[in-house]
């Protein structure tokens, strides 16, 4: 019997061995930078969960910087410079955004900021698009996750999510290839490995826009080398997106801002393919946040910004567009 028990225990150790080895490698490499705290998050190896990184940087710098103005929303926030925004607000700005952020994700962050002892919220600029208003609950997956102190989930669950993300073949294979051969291959590693070096400002979390340098260098070729730009798109209006669930979420965001006396602005950016938000949604947003606090650059009035020269890629407009948005938003008094 003792021999059989020994064999059983041995097998119980052998079966998880490969997973344990993978776990040790993951803990040592910490590619997503979520296991340990770092002094510099901004030149990462891999594409990170921007929500987590934003929050960690905010926490690291809040005592020294006393942030009171928050640039939130989708990755289109990259076009907005904190210094430029501060000219309108006079506040201490910080870019707190997420990958493909939705209203539900933003509400979670607002609730976390609201819970922070002594945290003032004087200005909020929400950079949104149609998809933003479709997501009224915190989105699943590590690219949308937030730290346990924000979500209330356990640390083990949080880390387990990242370990699972690490183990998916879609991530693990390119990552291992990159770690072994130290060569970047755009076809298989784009969106997984960071090949742009430093991508954010260490204090304000502003984006480092390496695309501007590429445009300056390549000129028109910058867009000709991409498949998406076309000279003309037929304008298309989406069906209304903002319904009961969205309204509930937005009202909660508004409620937090009102409690802080915050100046809230909503910026809907242009789209390269002339798809625009439904006017009913804009009316709803203005009812919730105020007539003068919402601008919609996806509409026909701002059609000049549909030109592909105003875009870095099909998902992100350039900083000149952001500057125009801010000028119009803050001109409305």
């Amino acid at each position: 019997m003792k021999h059989k028990i020994f064999i059983f225990y041995l097998k119980c150790v052998l079966i998880p061995l490969p997973f344990i080895a993978l776990l040790i490698f993951y803990i040592m490499s910490d590619p997503f930078m979520v296991i340990r705290k770092y002094s510099d998050y901004d030149a990462p190896e891999v594409a990170q969960s921007e929500g987590v990184i934003s929050w960690n940087k905010y926490k690291a710098n809040e005592k020294s910087m006393h942030f009171d103005s928050f640039l939130m929303g989708t990755s289109c926030t990259k076009a907005f410079h904190i210094n430029e925004w501060s000219k309108y607000t006079g506040g201490k700005g910080f870019r707190m955004f997420s990958n493909n952020e939705g209203a539900g994700d933003l509400l979670l962050k607002m609730q976390a900021l609201d819970s922070e002892k002594g945290q003032k919220i004087k200005n909020v600029l929400i950079v949104a698009d149609k998809q933003f208003f479709e997501e009224n609950h915190p989105q699943p997956g590590i690219m949308h996750s937030m730290p346990p102190e924000v979500t209330g989930q356990s640390e083990i669950t949080y880390q387990m999510d990242y370990f699972q993300g690490f183990c998916t073949p879609m991530f693990l294979i390119p990552y291992l290839r990159y770690r072994i051969f130290h060569e970047y291959d755009d076809k298989t590693m784009n969106g997984i490995i960071n090949n742009d070096g430093r991508i954010r400002n260490s204090i304000t979390n502003d984006a480092v826009l390496c695309q501007d340098a590429a445009i300056k260098k390549s000129g028109e070729k910058y867009w000709k080398n991409q498949s998406w730009p076309k000279e003309h798109y037929t304008a298309f209006t989406y069906a209304p997106t903002i319904k009961t669930e969205s309204i509930s979420c937005l009202m909660q965001i508004r409620s937090i801002c009102q409690r802080h006396g915050a100046n809230v602005k909503i910026a809907i950016g242009p789209t390269f393919n002339a798809k625009q938000m439904n006017p009913k949604d804009i009316v709803t947003l203005k009812k919730i946040f105020g007539d003068k606090n919402v601008v919609n650059f996806s509409d026909n009035f701002h059609s000049k910004f549909r030109n592909y020269h105003y875009f870095y890629d099909k998902a992100h407009y350039r900083d000149v567009v952001a500057n125009a948005i801010m000028k119009e938003l803050y001109a409305q008094k």
């Binding site: 019997m1 059989k4 059983f8 915190p138 699943p140 669950t157 699972q164 183990c167």
Partner: protein, 456 residues
């Protein structure tokens, strides 16, 4: 201490190692008893107090009842004991701020023990064995509801290390973890999103949640049961199965012979049979009455609100209808043939169960009626509302896992899969083990904390 938690993993390792360190019955029972006390007390000391109190009361009441089985006091002792147990249970459910975990399960065990003694079975003499029957940690939280005559004889045996039993148990635990983590917990946040506040959901979302909730519930509860049975097997115990492929049922009556079997068979034996015997002169109306009483009891067993009573009533009414129209169904079956009849009835039974489960899941009756009103009143805008917080990969993984679960159950109904793996070559077995563990690791949702039936 949840089954799927690090404290429990450490706990079970220690208990397992000590259990087989000495193949001595007294030592093993003492260890299991101590482990059960730690397991129950880990949640709250009050839960432990309740459990020990009820167990001790039942033990003494059983002895007293047996001693007076021929006397005039028999009925009084029996009735008083039952009333006290039911009273404690109802008080805990309706009036206590702290609802002791597992109380519904071990109270019904206690009731069945006393009823059997009243039916002139022998009581248990050994207090330790009886306490283990009542409190054994593997089945404490959510059953199965064990019968004394099934479990007590097993406690009389010494349990030596049996490699085949232990490994079979471990495989069952892993399979239960797969069902819980990859299926039930993957879909749980989506179900919560809709069913926690139905007024914020669209009709399409309500319909989707209604159709998927039975799968979540099944994977959660059957997953737990598999883990409990697997753990039992690892320690040499044969616990009662709770499910037998309920979704192949051709009627609601059949579904309840396949779903939560330990509860439904308990209610059949201790409520339906005695009640129908008492009212047999009412003929078919007596049967209907007994069915209503049985299923309302099943509903109320689950929870304190009207929704649970209505859940039970729904089941009872459907089964009464099926009983009353049995001849018509048989004629229809003969007319259309099994090829049409069987899938049609399976879908019908599933749909009826799904809409009845809204009473089980949604917080109040008016919200259930709201869902009923809006269930078929939808148009889908762009399909994104149907994602319910999951991305495409997660839906695909969930879908495949559900198919795998049903296919495995189908195969297992014809051949014991666990036994089958032992006949295969080592490299096949180990590949299967690795694949299962990998699927749990990579696709399991570790974020959902509790099993659903822990609340009962």
């Amino acid at each position: 201490m949840e089954f799927l938690s690090i404290p429990f993993a450490v706990f079970i390792l220690v208990v397992f190692a000590l259990y087989y360190a000495r193949a001595n019955r007294r030592w093993q029972h003492f260890l299991l008893f101590a482990a059960s006390l730690v397991f129950i007390g880990y949640y709250h000391i009050v839960y432990l107090a309740y459990a020990i109190g009820i167990a001790l009361f039942t033990f003494e009441a059983g002895k007293l009842l047996h001693k007076n089985i021929e006397s005039k006091w028999r009925a009084w002792i029996f009735t008083t004991s039952i009333v006290i147990l039911v009273g404690i249970w109802l008080t805990a459910r309706y009036a206590s701020p702290l609802f002791p975990l597992g109380i519904s399960f071990y109270t019904f065990q206690a009731l069945s023990y006393l009823i059997e003694i009243n039916w002139e079975e022998e009581p248990e003499d050994d207090l330790m064995d009886f306490m283990l029957y009542m409190l054994l940690f593997m089945k404490f939280l959510s059953g199965p509801i064990e019968r004394a005559y099934d479990m007590l004889p097993q406690l009389k045996e010494k349990h030596s290390f049996d490699y085949d039993n232990v490994t079979a148990g471990l495989k069952l635990v892993a399979w239960g973890a797969f069902m819980k983590l990859v299926i039930a917990d993957r879909i749980a946040p989506s179900m919560n999103m809709v069913l926690d506040d139905v007024h914020l959901a669209t009709s399409a979302q309500m319909l989707q949640a209604t159709l998927l909730y039975p799968i979540q519930l099944y994977a959660d509860f059957a997953g737990y049961t598999n883990m409990a049975l697997g753990l039992g097997a690892m320690f040499g115990f044969r616990l009662s199965p709770n499910f037998d492929r309920p979704f192949i049922s051709l009627s609601t009556g059949e579904l309840w012979r396949r779903w939560h079997q330990s509860l439904s068979f308990w209610c059949r034996d201790y409520i339906f049979t005695p009640v129908s015997a008492e009212v047999r002169r009412w003929k078919k109306w007596g049967i209907y009455f007994a069915l209503l009483v049985t299923f309302v009891t099943i509903g109320v067993w689950h929870g304190a609100g009207w929704t649970f009573a209505l859940y039970g009533l729904f089941q009872g009414l459907v089964i009464i209808y099926e009983t009353a129209t049995k001849t018509g169904h048989e004629r229809f079956r003969a007319k259309v043939g099994d090829r049409i009849y069987r899938p049609l009835m399976m879908i019908r039974t599933y749909l009826l169960f799904a809409v009845s489960l809204l009473f089980f899941r949604v917080s109040n009756v008016s919200d259930v009626l709201y869902v009923y009103q809006h269930l078929l009143n939808f148009n889908i805008n762009d399909g994104k509302e149907l994602r319910l917080g999951l991305n495409d990969n997660q839906w695909i993984a969930f879908g495949i896992a559900v198919v795998v679960m049903f296919v495995m159950e189908f195969i297992n109904s014809h051949k014991d899969i666990i036994k089958w793996t032992t006949t295969k070559k080592a490299y096949i077995r180990w590949t299967l083990y690795f694949v299962l563990v990998m699927l749990i690791f990579f696709y399991g949702n570790f974020g959902v904390e509790n099993f659903i039936y822990i609340q009962f």
